[in-house]
Each structure stands twice: as structure tokens, then as C-alpha cells.
């Protein structure tokens, strides 16, 4: 059971090594309802971190708590309230869009009426309704990404983790996804997103964390980050480059 008043996500000294440390004692806290952007250079440990939270990788050490639930001890409890959207959508080519959502809703035991309403609403808002009875094998990259997002949202997760959700989307699809995510955040869902498109993070996220070499090197709102680098009005891109360069020279 989730704990009232607990952070949506709490990572303490999280570690994972693949020969060399990928995540190296990461501490991170995300409050309920926050839209958190996790940024970092390639190989910084963003995806590894999210995969450990989603239960796809076993951590070597440290704690993962999701709304107070110890995700390492009670992974199934934690998974009930979490959704994970990888950068490469995982779909079943031989199922159509509606059948895919039916399957996902079944795995999360979503009540029939709610699942149907949610599926229809998600397909409508993502522009997939006309394609609802087409098999996924014929879908474009963008359609696959949007359907995977619908699957991630159909069970109303309290914590939604997205790894590069806008990769491969055209402008219109990207707008649909962004407005859906903003709407979910407004309704109280906690969203953690990795992205290399810094303007998206700048525009959507309420707080931003920058990791490098598996450690959090900076975190906070845009203004807090500006204070940290001592440049008023600096863009996120400038701050990101400054902070990661600083981290590299310190290493």
C-alpha cells in the first residue's frame, strides 16, 4: 500500500554497474504531481535508472520507493501504480490498436467500463481512433509511439516514466503527446521524462534534474538552476552544457 504524503519517487544511493558504474549512488526525490525532466549526456545513466524503477533491472544497491512502497521488496505493488514508456515502443504486431489496449487493461485488471472509456478517449486524443482496428504491424513509428503511450496511460498510473517520448514524432504528433502529458500532470499524475530536446524539458517540466556518470549533478526549477550556474536568463541548453562540462572536468 502506498504511504500518504510520501514522495512519488525516492531514490537513495541507487547503484548499478555493468562492469563500470552506470548509476553510482544516485539520490533523487520527485514530489507527487511533479513533471520532472531527467537530463544528461548519452550514457549518463538515465535509462538505466528508469529501468531499475520500472523493475526491468535489478539494482546492485540502494533504495527505490514509489509513493512509499519499497519497489525492490514489493515490485508487484509498485508496478500497479507505475507505467513505463521506453524509447522503442513494445507492441504486438498481430494485435490491432484496440486489442492491444484491451490486453494492457487486462494485465492491470482495469474494470471493463473504465477501460473501454479510457481506451476510446486515449485513441481519440492521440488521433488513433480511425486506426483502432488496424494491426500494429502496419503502424508508423509515430503511431506505435502514441499507441504505446495510450497503453501506458490506460490504467491511470500515479507515476509515469517516459524515456525519450518524442523521438520520431512529427510536429503534430509531438503536440498531441505533449498536451496529453500536460493534462495528466494537471490531473495529479507524476511524470518523469528523459529527453534530449531541451526546449521540451524547459517548457513542460516543473523541475529538472541533470545526471552525469550515474550521479545527480544538479536539480531544481529553471530559476534554481540559473542561480546555481550564476547566469540570470540563461537557457537550459547553456546551463546543461555548463554543468556537464563542469562535471567532466571535475571527474
Amino acid at each position: 500500500m502506498s504511504v500518504e504524503g510520501a514522495p512519488a519517487l525516492e531514490l537513495r544511493s541507487l547503484k548499478k554497474s555493468f562492469g563500470r558504474p552506470a548509476v553510482d549512488g544516485l539520490d533523487l526525490e520527485v514530489a507527487p504531481g511533479e513533471f520532472y525532466a531527467l537530463l544528461g549526456p548519452n550514457g549518463a545513466g538515465k535509462t538505466t535508472t528508469l529501468r531499475m524503477i520500472a523493475g526491468l533491472l535489478q539494482a546492485d544497491g540502494g533504495d527505490i520507493r514509489i509513493f512509499g512502497i519499497d519497489a525492490r521488496k514489493n515490485p508487484i505493488e509498485a508496478k500497479r501504480i507505475v507505467a513505463w514508456l521506453p524509447d522503442e515502443p513494445m507492441l504486438y504486431d498481430k494485435l490491432d490498436a484496440l486489442e492491444y489496449l484491451e490486453f494492457v487493461a487486462g494485465l492491470w485488471s482495469v474494470e471493463a467500463g473504465a477501460a473501454q472509456r479510457s481506451a476510446e478517449g486515449l485513441l481519440e486524443s492521440l488521433g488513433l481512433w480511425p486506426h483502432r482496428r488496424e494491426r500494429c504491424e502496419g503502424f508508423s513509428r509515430g503511431m506505435r509511439q502514441k499507441l504505446a503511450l495510450a497503453g501506458a496511460l490506460i490504467h491511470e498510473p500515479r507515476l509515469l516514466m517516459l524515456d525519450e517520448p518524442l523521438t520520431g514524432l512529427d510536429a503534430s504528433a509531438a503536440r498531441q503527446v505533449k498536451s496529453l502529458l500536460t493534462e495528466r500532470a494537471r490531473r495529479g499524475a507524476t511524470i518523469i521524462m528523459t529527453t534530449h530536446i531541451l526546449e521540451v524539458a524547459e517548457r513542460l517540466a516543473s523541475r529538472i534534474g541533470i545526471i552525469d556518470r550515474g550521479r545527480l549533478i544538479a536539480g531544481g526549477t529553471l530559476d534554481e538552476l540559473r542561480l546555481r550556474v550564476g547566469e540570470n536568463g540563461a537557457t537550459l541548453e547553456a546551463m546543461f552544457l555548463h554543468l556537464t562540462a563542469q562535471s567532466s572536468s571535475a571527474a
Binding site: L91, E102, G106, L107, V110, A112, A119
Partner: protein, 516 residues
């Protein structure tokens, strides 16, 4: 545009290099010298195995009426090999249309599609010739070593057959594409290849079951002396295989002509069909009549998903049915040969048990190892055990559908045999599923027929348990309590497999499939 002969030779070299590397990769990280050594050993082994067979064939040739008997045998070979090569080429061509690996790069280059098609079709022909040649050509070599040099005529005859079969296959495949579109053409060619493959095995048995006079007529029609329409068609290939120089020349010219005509006629059409295939939605048809029911239980959701994934893959279903079809001739032989094995129950019950085990092995591998979205399932709030239980439960339905008719027929002929097939078949299904459950090897569904190359232990165990269950079923049909002995063997084999896999699992990184 680059000169077509230069482009053709470049493509041939490109395909040869890719094929050679693909072949070498089958030996793992071995050095080229090791690969060559293994290859030489393999060829030596094939020739050693061919030695007694060639001896028997030479005995037939030198015996009374030898030439006619051998001619009939070669005729039967032509009747089987040519359609097989044609069907394989048809399938390979239609698959090629959807293989986007380098097709788009090549078709976007300033090279004429005829050169490209000719090179790719040549590689299809080489593949067909090599597949048949690996069995036939050692016989020719051994016969030549034993002073029957005319057997070497099998080489040009087989090459000509490869060219002719491929030319016909390309023509038929492209004809289907033009008539009904690339996607339907692919489906039909897959079914045709399956039917031809099955007829390969079943045809011989059907002939063997015919009354003697009818059999003589058919064998007579294949003999070189016959003047029937069938022989008019196969006479030249048969004479070519026998070593008649004029026939070799004629057959080779015919093969080359068919091959060249197909490449010349369909080069541009192939490029167009590839463009159409690229733009064809994988499933354009609306499926509004298919029921979608939200609110299923976890188990029902998993079962429904697995069922849909299997039944909607015609290639997969055709391969499963073919696998079952290949086993039946053994039962027919047992039944036809009478004696203690001559009862319907003793002949067919073990066959059904073996088929059940094979289907369960393939389907459980598909469900467990060839899961399309393992990471996604690992994020669902389910234990790994729950997911695996759901998947294993899901494989029962396709097996039941495929085996229902033969099981009902067997039960009508012999209720006791039907009951034995049901009980021992269920045991075989459970055993094959457990073997695959304990030794999962994440892979792609399309590799189902080559799954044992990934884990030879699983292949060995699947065969062992299916044979033991089949033996137990046969003993039970006779009514002997000794059926318990092979069942105990199954239990022992499964226990060893479980222990071995559990030990292996400790050394592996955990949760590769389901993120446990």
C-alpha cells in the same frame, strides 16, 4: 546507369560475401581455418554416409531391369525436386519483397532492377541447389569413385533444375504479386510451399498405399520408356540425370532460358512490386467485426493475446501444421507393415503423441521465448510465474484445434487407443512445455523452426521426452503395465533437465526475459 553486367557481378559478389559470413556465423566465433576444417569434415561425413546408399543404388542399376528401375527413381526425384524448388523460389521471392534490409538502398541507387533481381534470384537458385545437392551430390561422387562416372551428370542436371525451378518460381511469384498484390502473394506462396513440402513426404506414402496395379501405372509413367504426357515433361531431366549429353545440354538451356526470361521480364515489375509492398499497410483490412472485450482477467488476457498472435501468423500456422504432417507417414508405414505394429492404435497413437509434443514444444517456445514485448510484460503488476502460467495455458487451444480431428478419428477406430492418445499426449504436451519453460532462449518468432540451433539441449530434451511418451503410449495401447517404464524415464529426464537449468540460471543474469 551503371553497366548491367558490372552491376550484376557486383551484386553477386555482395550476396556471396553476405552468404559466406552468414554461413560462417553458424560456427560461432571460429577462425576461417577452423570453419574450413569443419566444412571438410562435414563433407567427408556426408560422403561416408552416402557410401552404402550409393552401393545399394549401383546394385539396383546393375541388377535385372536396372536401367528402367533407376529411370523410374530418377523420374520420381524430378517430380519431387522441381516442384519443391519452384515453391521455395516463390516463397523466397515474395519474402524478398518485404525484406527491407538493403532493398531500399539498392532500389534507390542508379542500378537497373534487372541486375539486382538476377543476382538475388541467382542466390535463391544456389540455395535450392545446395539444399538438394547436399543430399544427392555425395551419392554422385561416391558412385563416380566406384567406377560409375555417368552419375556425375547429377551435377549439371541439378544446376539446370535449380535454374528452371527458380525461373518458374519467380514467374509464378511475380504473377501472384501482379494478380493479387504482394501481401496476398506472400501468404499464398507460403501455403503453396507448405503443401508442396508436405506432399514431398505424404505423396510417397500415398503411392505406397495404392493397389499394386495403380502403383505400377504410376511408376511406369515415370520410367524412361513411357510415352505418357508426364514423361514428355520429365523425360529430358531424367535423361540429363542419367548422363545423356544432349539431354544435359537441352535441360541446361531450358533452365537458363527460364531463369533469364524471368529476370528480364520481371526486373522492372519486381522493383514496382517492392515499392507497392513498402507502401502496403501490413493489415489494411478493417476488423470491426472482431470482438474486443475489456475487463478480462489477467489469465484470459494473456491467453487471448497468445491465441491471436499465433492464429494471425499464417506462416507460423502453416509451419506447425507441416511439422505435424511430416510425422504421419511414419504411422502410415507402421500401420501398412502389419505384424505387431499393424493395428491402427499402435501405429497412430504414438504418432499423435509425438505430434502433440512437437506442437507443444514449438508453441511454448513461441509463447515463452519469442515474446514480442518481454520488457513491457515485466512492467505489469504480475509475478513471473503468473505470466508463465497464462502463456502455457494459452498453448493448449491451438494444439487442441490441430489434433481434434485425428484424435476423434482414432477414438472412433479404437476408443482405448483414443484414450491413451489423450492421456499420453497431455503428458507429452506438459513435458515439452516444461522443457521450454525451464530453458528460455529469447528470440524472434520467425526462428521457430530453427529454435533448437539456439539450445541444442532443449532440442535433445524435446525429442527425448516425445519419444519416451510415444513409446509409453504404444505399450499402453497393447495393454501392458510396462508403459510406466518410459514414463519414469520422462520423469527422470525432466528432473535432470530441471536441475541443469536451475544450475544454469544461477549463473545467468536474472530476469532476462521478464525482468525478474
Amino acid at each position: 546507369m551503371i553497366g548491367s553486367s558490372l552491376a550484376f557481378s557486383r551484386f553477386v559478389l555482395h550476396d556471396l560475401r553476405l552468404s559466406a559470413r552468414g554461413f560462417a556465423s553458424m560456427f560461432g566465433p571460429a577462425r576461417p581455418a577452423t570453419v574450413w576444417a569443419l566444412l571438410v569434415l562435414l563433407l567427408a561425413g556426408l560422403h561416408a554416409a552416402a557410401w552404402p546408399v550409393a552401393g545399394w543404388l549401383l546394385g539396383v542399376e546393375e541388377g535385372p531391369g536396372g536401367a528402367a528401375r533407376l529411370g523410374a527413381g530418377l523420374g520420381a526425384g524430378v517430380v519431387l525436386v522441381l516442384p519443391w524448388m519452384t515453391a521455395q523460389s516463390m516463397t523466397a521471392l515474395t519474402r524478398m519483397l518485404f525484406d527491407r534490409s538493403d532493398l531500399e538502398l539498392i532500389l534507390s541507387s542508379p542500378v537497373g532492377p534487372r541486375s539486382f533481381l538476377a543476382a538475388r534470384v541467382l542466390s535463391i537458385a544456389v540455395d535450392s541447389v545446395a539444399t538438394v545437392g547436399v543430399l544427392l551430390l555425395p551419392l554422385a561422387d561416391v558412385a563416380a569413385l566406384r567406377a560409375h562416372g555417368h552419375w556425375l551428370a547429377l551435377y549439371p542436371a541439378l544446376i539446370a533444375a535449380g535454374l528452371l525451378g527458380t525461373g518458374l518460381g519467380v514467374t509464378l511469384g511475380m504473377g501472384l504479386c501482379l494478380a493479387m498484390g504482394p501481401r496476398r502473394a506472400r501468404l499464398i506462396s507460403q501455403i503453396a510451399a507448405t503443401a508442396v513440402g508436405a506432399s514431398f513426404v505424404l505423396g510417397g506414402q500415398v503411392v505406397a498405399m495404392l493397389p499394386a496395379p495403380m502403383r505400377s501405372v504410376i511408376l511406369g509413367a515415370l520410367a524412361p520408356s513411357d510415352s505418357s504426357a508426364l514423361h514428355a515433361l520429365i523425360g529430358t531431366p531424367v535423361r540429363a540425370a542419367e548422363g545423356d549429353p544432349a539431354a544435359i545440354l537441352g535441360f541446361t538451356v531450358a533452365g537458363l532460358a527460364a531463369f533469364a526470361a524471368a529476370c528480364a521480364l520481371f526486373g522492372e515489375r519486381f522493383a514496382e512490386a517492392a515499392l507497392v509492398a513498402a507502401g502496403t499497410p501490413a493489415s489494411g483490412a478493417s476488423a470491426a467485426n472482431r470482438a474486443v472485450r475489456f475487463g478480462r482477467s489477467v489469465g484470459a488476457a494473456l491467453r487471448t493475446k497468445e491465441r491471436r498472435v499465433v492464429w494471425r501468423d499464417p506462416w507460423l500456422v502453416s509451419q506447425l501444421v507441416l511439422q505435424a504432417a511430416y510425422t504421419m507417414p511414419v504411422a502410415v508405414i507402421l500401420w501398412r507393415h502389419g505384424g505387431p505394429t499393424g493395428s491402427v492404435g499402435v501405429a497412430f497413437t504414438p504418432a499423435l503423441v509425438v505430434i502433440a509434443a512437437q506442437l507443444a514444444g514449438a508453441l511454448s517456445w513461441i509463447a515463452l521465448s519469442a515474446e514480442d514485448a518481454p520488457d513491457f510484460l515485466a512492467t505489469a503488476p504480475l509475478s513471473r510465474r503468473a505470466v508463465e502460467q497464462g502463456k502455457i495455458a494459452a498453448i493448449a487451444q491451438p494444439i487442441a484445434v490441430i489434433l481434434a480431428v485425428p484424435l476423434a478419428a482414432l477414438s472412433l477406430a479404437s476408443p482405448w487407443a483414443g484414450a491413451c492418445a489423450l492421456v499420453f499426449g497431455a503428458g507429452a504436451i506438459a513435458s515439452a512445455a516444461l522443457v521450454n519453460l525451464w530453458r528460455q532462449t529469447p528470440s524472434r518468432r520467425s526462428l521457430v523452426l530453427r529454435r533448437h540451433a539456439q539450445s541444442k539441449l532443449v532440442g535433445l530434451m524435446e525429442h527425448l521426452v516425445s519419444i519416451l511418451w510415444a513409446v509409453a503410449a504404444a505399450i499402453a495401447v497393447i495393454g501392458s503395465w510396462k508403459a510406466i517404464v518410459p514414463v519414469a524415464g520422462v520423469a527422470g529426464a525432466l528432473a535432470v533437465n530441471w536441475r541443469f537449468s536451475a544450475a544454469g540460471a544461477r549463473g545467468r543474469s536474472t530476469g532476462r526475459l521478464l525482468g525478474e
